[in-house]
């Protein structure tokens, strides 16, 4: 629980490009517009109190009018200039650095993530997690397979919707390393709340290491138990929906499991990635997240042990 408190989903933690720039702009807007709001309220109150008393001189009224118009002009000019400067600075921050190209496809209720490389075969396919190198702009293409979802990693950027049949994008520029949490920000069905996205911002070498590991095919099972799990996963229900690169399991309907055990959570942030929770999820996905597309299979005990042992080996 402490994780929630140390800013992994805070919009003011200063981890993203927008934070530094846009938060200042926001404060400036708040200050200036608040100032004018106060003036208007004061003037209103004054007008209510002073009504019917016709003491005002023409020159004073005119001075007030010009003063007001002048203040508005100056205020608007300051806001425009500030917006423009911030926009320039955002551009300057992202310009000239090759962005990472990431494709994010939202489903009910999980995120399909692809990192595009120089050639199609360099693609990294994962789910429910984003790894970002610090200081490198990332251009994220956003698509949806079913209903409208919204991409929101508060520490990194504002919201952007994922709309079926359309392609949106958002440019991220993480400014410090850390673990963050994204969340679908558009109500998308009964399990909308359990559609989280684990975001890891790390150093470029760490990111490259992660990318290399993800590009590799899945580990072959080593223990007899895991081999049993491999047989079950590749021949039975699991393979209908899940892909494990390097094995015959090539389903496209559910999240990619090639390096499942290297992720931070299970079921789009439903459970932390631990052995016990893996058991809980595989044995009864509908208990944890009722209505999701992973069916309750009703495993025999030995099959469950085997499947979990195999999934745990998918580092």
């Amino acid at each position: 629980m402490s994780a929630w408190l140390n800013g992994i989903q805070s919009a003011t933690s200063g981890a993203g490009l927008h934070d530094q720039q846009f938060n200042g702009l926001f404060l400036l807007f708040l200050g200036i517009t608040g100032f004018f709001y106060l003036i208007v309220i004061v003037a209103l109150i004054a007008a209510i109190i002073l009504r019917r008393r016709r003491t005002g001189s023409e020159p004073l009224a005119r001075a007030a009018l010009f003063g007001w118009v002048g203040a508005v002009v100056v205020g608007l000019a300051v806001l425009s200039a500030a917006s423009f400067l911030v926009d320039r600075r955002v551009d300057a921050a992202t310009m000239g650095r090759p962005p990472l190209k990431i494709e994010l496809v939202a489903n009910q209720w999980w995120w399909d993530v692809r990192y595009h490389g120089a050639s199609p075969s360099d693609e990294v396919h994962t789910a429910n997690e984003l790894h970002l190198p610090v200081g490198v702009p990332a251009l994220v293409t956003l698509k949806s397979n079913d209903v409208i979802h919204s991409f929101w990693v508060p520490p990194l950027a504002g919201k952007q919707d994922l709309v079926p049949g359309r392609t949106n994008d958002i440019l991220l520029l993480p400014r410090r390393t850390g673990l963050f949490r994204g969340q679908c920000a558009e109500f998308c069905g009964t399990q909308h709340a359990r559609m989280a996205l684990d975001v890891t911002v790390e150093s470029l070498p760490d990111f490259r290491r992660w990318q290399r590991a993800q590009r590799a095919p899945a580990f072959a099972p080593r223990t007899a138990l895991a081999q049993g799990g491999y047989a079950y996963v590749t021949q039975r229900e699991c393979a209908n929906c899940h892909n494990i690169t390097g094995t015959p399991a090539s389903g496209r309907f559910g999240p990619d499991l090639t390096h499942l055990a290297s992720r931070r959570s299970i079921g789009a942030g439903t459970y932390p990635m631990t052995r016990g929770h893996l058991y809980a999820w595989v044995a009864d996905p509908q208990g944890a997240k009722p209505g999701n597309n992973m069916p309750y299979i009703g495993f025999e005990a030995q099959d469950l042990h085997a499947v979990v042992a195999y999934l745990q080996s998918l580092k």
Binding site: D87, G96, P98, P99, G165, R215, P248, S250, R252, F253
Partner: protein
């Protein structure tokens, strides 16, 4: 990563924010320009008014010369000869007497699926391969009424019917050294003794549990039986193999995807265009592991050049249909291979539809011709492609000499002869989650498998083909071995003019249509040309027609019992007279609406044919029957 490209993307993003309004205005302006361009584009579609243009090429009529068609009156392979001309030099039946053509005998195959095969005639015998269950009938032509001499029943697995994408067809057998070679739907190549019908060998080449079937007609050349698999709609991994004709042992097997050693790409590989060069393109032009289910099946036609010792065949669509699931060029799907017949090593490859967007398989026939190109005689292959372009290629090097659309095309903008690359029309590119409308040609293509014929009398190629456009909606396809891997909801309908089929007489030298015959239904039968100046083909409502090669004038027609999707042949009977034979029996991809009793209220039935041929069940019924015609004598 390429910094230049990416910097540009970032710049674009920056500009978008700063100059938002300018951008909106620009987009508006672009939109207007684009609309005008599109309208103009529609206007410039080939008009159908060329239909009755008389043949103007009587000066220098023989402008193209076919190779390797010494004619002994037999019909030993589906395409008549290695050059695939489908031309019979017999001229007993000609333009003057053809109206007296009548039925000599008929024979029922007893099967109600689509009959796409060409009968074979060797000596006094005729051989017919039926669709599943792939019976082989040997008819004795020396006896009155051509009685059955023997029947061979290979008993293919019943479950194979469930993985045959487009009806359970078979496109024919091949003959050499008193042996009949044919493929069964459950992936066996079988050799029979032509005299007795005894099985000499069988080789199992594929697995129906992975979605593989075999429907193509083998070609026998240089002591090898050349065969390939089908199943591009099931996410198979395409391959093409050569079996030893004597023993059935696999001499070589070349996959269409995967590392170079699987594709049989070695030092001899010299493709003409840069886009087809590189190491392990069969892996690197696919997302990880996608090549293992990447299609590229070799289910179409094979030609052979004995001088170059090169065998030519095309590869089918990549899997799945939805192109967004397979970024990259998807080598070596949707292209044509030239391989050395002895060791299978690839000589060249040309990808006619890189990163195929619309199921435009490259499996159509290659007609080998020697013809003048820019004043010089060249050894070429003519390929009327599914993507709508008629390619003339140098068959030694793979260079595209010309590529011209032979019907209305909105899906592409043309072929760049410098890079060899087909340019797709961005407005027609399928996108997940939406329906793109008005794509021409449709997924069955301007022309599907049904082969064209060449006539040395006119120098023209006669192409039976479709005039269909489509609406296409993509969605993410799921891969489960042995089930369809498509990811697109499609709907076909008649193209400009409202007719669904066309027969085009195409001048390969001048790259233009000489005349066209409009047919109401899609044309799904092959064509046959004869020395008598005739062209034979059939329609899906059962008419078997003979027209004049020079003018396209209809000279004779006969209504058979079922729709025709087969390949007509001509042979000299034991009595010395010329005969014309055709298998009638509707089915195949569009005909499955009849042969598999589809429900046309669903426009996507049969992968899009529900809307296009919903009227077919009123026009014909299923039933396989051989018809043989002759003049009265």
């Amino acid at each position: 990563m390429k910094p230049g490209y990416i910097r540009e993307a970032v710049l674009a993003a920056a500009r978008r924010r700063t100059w938002l309004w300018a951008g909106v205005l620009l987009l508006l302006a672009l939109g207007i320009v684009f609309a005008i361009v599109r309208l103009a584009g529609h206007d410039s579609l080939p008009s159908e008014s060329v239909t009755t243009t008389p043949y103007a090429g009587s000066t220098g009529a023989i402008t193209a010369r076919s190779i390797g068609d010494g004619d002994d009156g037999q019909w030993t392979m589906a395409a008549k000869n290695y050059a695939s001309t489908r031309f019979s030099s017999a001229r007993e039946i000609d333009t003057r007497n053809v109206r007296r053509l009548h039925v000599a005998f008929t024979f029922s195959t007893g099967i109600v699926k689509g009959h796409e095969a060409a009968p074979l005639v060797i000596g006094g015998m005729m051989y017919i391969v039926t669709p599943f269950p792939n019976y082989v009938y040997a008819l004795d032509l020396t006896q009155p009424g051509a009685p059955v001499k023997w029947t061979f029943k290979p008993k293919p697995l019943s479950a194979a019917q469930g993985v045959a994408c487009c009806d359970v067809v078979n496109r024919g057998a091949a003959y050499a050294d008193n042996r009949i070679f044919f493929n069964t739907l459950d992936n066996r190549t079988i050799a029979l003794d032509a005299t007795t019908g005894r099985m000499l060998w069988e080789t199992k080449l594929g697995d129906i549990n992975r979605g593989e079937t075999m429907t193509m007609a083998p070609l026998v050349a240089g002591g090898k039986v050349l065969v390939g698999n089908a199943g591009g709609e099931m996410g198979v991994r395409g391959w093409f193999a050569a079996l030893d004709a004597a023993t059935g042992r696999i001499a070589w097997k070349a996959f269409a995807t995967g590392p170079d050693r699987d594709v049989l790409i070695g030092p001899a590989y010299k493709p003409f265009y840069a886009m087809d060069r590189g190491r392990d393109l069969g892996v690197t032009s696919w997302p990880p592991d996608a090549w293992k289910m990447g299609g590229g099946a070799a289910w179409g036609w094979v030609s052979y050049d004995p001088q170059l010792r090169l065998v030519y065949y095309g590869t089918g669509n990549p899997g799945p249909w939805n192109p967004e699931q397979r970024p990259g060029d998807n080598k070596f799907a949707t292209g044509v291979f030239a391989r050395n017949i002895d060791d299978g090593q690839a000589r060249w490859f040309y990808q006619s539809s890189p990163h195929d967007l619309f199921d435009h398989d490259g499996i159509n026939e290659q007609i080998l011709l020697d013809m003048p190109v820019k004043g010089r005689m060249r050894g070429v292959m003519a390929r009327p492609e599914r993507n709508g372009y008629f390619y003339i290629m140098d068959r030694a090097t793979g260079e595209v000499l010309s590529a011209k659309a032979f019907g209305p095309v909105t899906a592409y903008k043309g072929v760049d002869l410098k890079t060899g690359r087909l340019a797709p029309n961005p407005a027609m590119e399928p996108k997940e989650g939406r329906v793109v409308r008005g794509i021409c040609p449709s997924a069955p293509g301007m022309k599907d498998w049904n082969p064209a014929a060449f006539s040395p009398l006119t120098g023209l190629v006669y192409i039976p083909h479709n005039n269909l456009c489509m609406d296409w909606g993509s969605y993410e396809a799921n891969y489960i071995a042995g089930t369809p891997y498509i990811g697109a909801d499609v709907k076909y309908y008649a193209g400009p003019g409202g007719h669904r089929g066309v027969l085009t007489a195409w001048d390969p030298v001048h790259q233009r249509p000489v005349w066209r015959i409009k047919e109401d239904l899609p044309l799904w039968s092959g064509a046959l040309t004869t020395g008598g100046g005739l062209l034979f083909y059939g329609t899906m409502d059962g008419w078997f027609k003979a027209v004049d090669q020079r003018s396209g004038k209809l000279l004779w027609r006969f209504k058979t019992g079922s729709g025709i999707i087969g390949q007509p042949i001509s042979y000299r009977g034991p009595d010395g007279h010329q005969y014309i034979a055709i298998l009638s029996g509707v089915g195949g991809w569009p005909g499955s609406i009849v042969s598999n009793a589809l429900d046309a209220r669903d426009p996507t039935a049969g992968n899009g044919w529900g809307s296009a041929v919903g009227d077919l069940p009123q026009k014909t019924t299923a039933g396989g029957m051989l018809y043989v015609f002759a003049l009265p004598h």
